[in-house]
Point group: C2
């Protein structure tokens, strides 16, 4: 997880919550298993496993449950540490813990890995996807794994929640792709979901984002080592995957952050980028290294499956944005980041307007700053009190 967070924090901020303030229970990664799961497209996947973590205590009534869904390049490690010596806690530790806005003295928080999670080589990520062994062949699925959607991600989480005997949630929340799942939870299971907090998300992936997701995956397809997805046990398409992750990394940021963090500094003071093709700016060097590091724990095919799942997303998954939002009955607290250049605040405002026009209860606040999309992870604490208040209503 250190490597994973290192990627998020490339040359940047230290999380506001240091070791002292982290969720204070030690966290354990657990496994949820299903003998089979049938996708919304009608394809059956056997032996589905996903990892999950919980923070806090499930009460006797089983009515104090908050589900947190993770972002594209993340996993279920939302809070706390596995061991005291861990370099950093989970990604939302600033707002999850005893006395924090998502107060683990009150709430039982469940955070699970998605299907087709990116980080297949991280021992603390447990997922089922193209890098998994197909029980019917004894070989990795590769690109024969079924195409899955946000609804499938949510349905597996629903099965996990069911398995714990929980019939109603207090809230669902998440950042970025976690916000997409949050909207989908509300549309898919309106009776179970009274509150949602979609952070730096959107209720629909529009064509601008569809094309960027297409471009993000394109270097993988270009890499000869990708080999139509059949690379397991061979030399992997690391170069294509690293370029994909360079795009993700810079897209998740903002020019204000880049100006402050790097300016026009050179990667090496004696190597002028104007004098040689080998000489780089500091920003190029830092993002190259961060992405290369991140690629080591990630799987190229899983990247493509995630991109597809995001492209396919319209809340409710059976019509337009407007139709999908009609199925949402949860109260919503919608939180974009002001400087987001990936899932623009306008996307959140559009959903808010549609819900308001439909007479729904919806609140809207922004995370201020110039950190870009990633402010929804690194600076979410700026709206911690809004989240605390919303969850208490």
């Amino acid at each position: 997880m250190t490597r994973s967070l290192g990627f998020l924090m490339v040359g940047v901020l230290v999380l506001a919550a240091g070791a002292a303030g982290a969720y204070d229970g030690m966290v354990e990664k657990k496994t949820f298993a299903m003998p089979s799961y049938t996708t919304v497209n009608g394809q059956t996947i056997k032996n589905v496993k996903v990892g999950y973590e919980t923070y806090g205590t499930l009460n006797a009534a089983k009515d104090n449950v908050i589900v947190i869904c993770h972002f594209y390049s993340g996993n279920s490690h939302a809070a706390g540490k596995y061991a005291a010596a861990d370099a950093a806690p989970g990604y939302w530790d600033t707002i999850v813990g005893a006395g924090k806005p998502i107060d683990t003295d009150k709430f039982f928080v469940i955070s699970s890995d998605t299907l087709v999670n990116l980080n297949t080589k991280d021992p603390r990520t447990i997922t089922t996807g193209p890098a998994s062994i197909n029980p019917d062949t004894g070989k990795p699925y590769g690109m024969t794994f079924p195409i899955v959607t946000m609804r499938d991600f949510v349905n597996v989480q629903k099965a996990l929640v069911d398995s714990l005997g929980i019939t109603k949630l207090h809230a669902v929340m998440g950042a970025s792709m976690g916000a997409l799942q949050t909207w989908e939870w509300a549309a898919a299971y309106p009776d179970m979901v009274p509150r949602i907090v979609p952070v730096i998300g959107t209720a629909e992936i529009g064509p601008y984002a569809i094309e960027w997701l297409n471009i993000w995956g394109a270097p993988i397809l270009m890499d000869p080592k990708w080999n139509q997805g059949d690379y397991y046990g061979k030399d992997e398409p690391t170069e294509g995957l690293a370029l994909a992750l360079r795009m993700v990394t810079i897209h998740a940021r903002h020019y204000g952050w880049a100006n402050t963090t790097f300016g026009r500094r050179w990667a090496a003071a004696d190597r002028d980028p104007g004098k040689s093709w080998d000489n780089k700016y500091a920003v190029e060097d830092a993002i190259d290294k961060a992405a290369a590091g991140r690629a080591r724990s990630a799987d190229a095919n899983s990247f493509l499956y995630l991109a597809k799942a995001n492209q396919l997303f319209v809340v409710g998954h059976k019509g337009t944005l407007e139709e999908g939002l009609k199925g949402v009955r949860a109260k919503a607290l919608v939180i974009p980041a002001t400087s987001d250049l990936l899932l623009f605040p306008e996307y959140s405002r559009q959903a808010v307007e549609l819900l308001k026009n439909d007479g729904k209860s919806v609140e809207y606040v922004e995370i201020p700053g110039d950190g870009g999309h990633l402010d929804g992870v690194l600076a979410v604490g700026k709206q911690g009190e809004a989240i605390r208040k919303f969850l208490s209503q």
Copy 2:
């Protein structure tokens, strides 16, 4: 040139100026040649040639000259047609012509191809760059061509202007990379340049743009056919170049434009993108095709040289943005596009603030709309009257 404009207008607008309103003189591409040119880095290039076009008539005093600099993927065809049957006129034809804001009844307009122009396979582009023959070897330069800068682009234009006996300009202007050259003209030759109109530009490429330029070029470096730039006369790195151009194309746009133009439509009504990896959304299909078409007239190495020249840009080319702007004495009319997601309006506002704080004469207007960066080309007419007024002052 039709193909080139087709790229710009992918699935979009028809230029507001149709055939009837185009600059009405027929345009001729001319060649400006220099026996040698020495770059600011101190490297000498022999037999430099660039193409140029002129619109209007040079007056006896030779004091009615406006220089227009072109954008990254463009060339010198700013206005008019080569033949009546041309599908479309030059890219800024809405504002260049008899009675138009850049009034060719008054002004003599010079527009030249830059060094390392992208469109080496377009017979109407004349440039010197990595695809040119090195007279010393009889072979194409490839990546042995010197690294060049905006100052070098401007210096070659200056030599062209000198060759016509012109000692002072009325104004310099341009869109995007053309705006970078415009700033540079003002900093490099302050006695020659009393007025500048940088459109959708910036006076400095900051680290966020530096990294995106790096990523734009990365698929070319990844393409095995690139072969360290040694591909002339062989199979070319078309796949890498096309992916680079896909990024340029979508970066030059805005989600509002994408929503209106494509929505979530499928490329084919019977091919659900949720059902197969081969099935695409309309936006993916359109931009794939536009970029592939564009790649046919472009040169991969030239793309890399352009990216480098842009990364290296700080106005004045010898210090900080602040220092560079101190050298600008021209009156400025600075025109970003409100919805620009590539060279954000904030970049223009920063330059304007610095000039104002320095007591300089500067005006600022935005091109409204949701077309993105490309509004500085396709919708520049929205600020045509501001340009007309500024040029008359």
